[in-house]
Subunit: 140 residues, 2 copies
DNA sequence: GTAAATTCTGGGGTGCACTCTAGGTCAACA
DNA sequence: TGTTGACCTAGAGTGCACCCCAGAATTTAC
């Protein structure tokens, strides 16, 4: 598989694939006679995992550390497990934070809906504006 | 309240407060005789909300758009509600994505724990390495 | 009265994660 | 044979969200 196909199948751009290779996230692939990168099918699983790590907010440096440990072999399993546990804690906290944000967003959307309904019920736009102005100042 | 105190109480650095002011996230505060920024207490609520929006991953440009709409007045409530609803969808999706990631992390931490246990049970480190190598290649 | 602390402005610097460009090589097809 | 399209390298550029710095003014404390 050449880099174009891997890009299409993995969802990473060609540039990103080369960048990931350069910083050690992806092992150097073999080359064909013309110097083109030739990838194994199995690389797709690894890339899928890398994408998951990125989705957790892990920076590429940490990912490169993880990738380097993986290259060393099974004796680094302990360190990798630790990294994943750390990341798990971070993700758990982030989910909680986002849930909080979601509650706030829901609350405010409700408020806005009420405001807009009230604005329609009182057929006086001007009054409605004055009425809701207080709410706005407090709540946005 | 001067900028130093606001920084301490809001958790944003002095530089960030001035930056937010420059890009329109925070309304221009009044100044004292010496030209120093003087903030109202109420600004803290607004900043707290801005921090929530940032926590959802909203970029400062969108935040500035929201802030600008807010400055205009209640007649922009509809657009702001729309922005918050859009953001709500994004946050909901992000929480789902992170939950997926969390499952994967838990699964892999479990795997690593099993691997390390097996490594201890078989008192032969070399064999253990060979045994787990297959798992590693498949699972990391 | 002077030294220290705080704030001011304008503009440059940083780290991150890519993304793009220029100038070339190579394989396959008409 | 020649041209098209995919790929190559090295390095520069981008957008984001700050962060830092120099040099000046002002306020506060002693």
């Amino acid at each position: 598989m050449y880099i174009g196909e891997l890009s299409a199948q993995s969802g990473l751009s060609i540039d990103t694939l080369r960048y990931y290779e350069k910083i050690g996230l992806i092992p150097d692939p073999t080359r064909d006679q013309g110097g083109r990168r030739v990838y194994q099918e199995s690389i797709k699983d690894w890339i899928a995992f890398l994408k998951k790590l990125r989705a957790t907010g892990m920076g590429v440096k940490d990912m490169a550390r993880y990738a380097a440990l993986r290259e060393v072999g099974p004796e680094t399993a302990n360190q990798r497990r630790q990294m994943l546990e750390d990341r798990r804690d971070i993700v758990t906290a982030k989910i909680e934070e986002l849930s909080d944000c979601l509650n706030l967003l829901n609350y405010k959307v409700d408020l806005y809906e009420k405001m807009e309904r009230d604005g329609l019920e009182t057929s006086s736009p001007l009054e409605a504006k004055v009425q809701t102005k207080g709410l706005l100042k407090k709540e946005d």
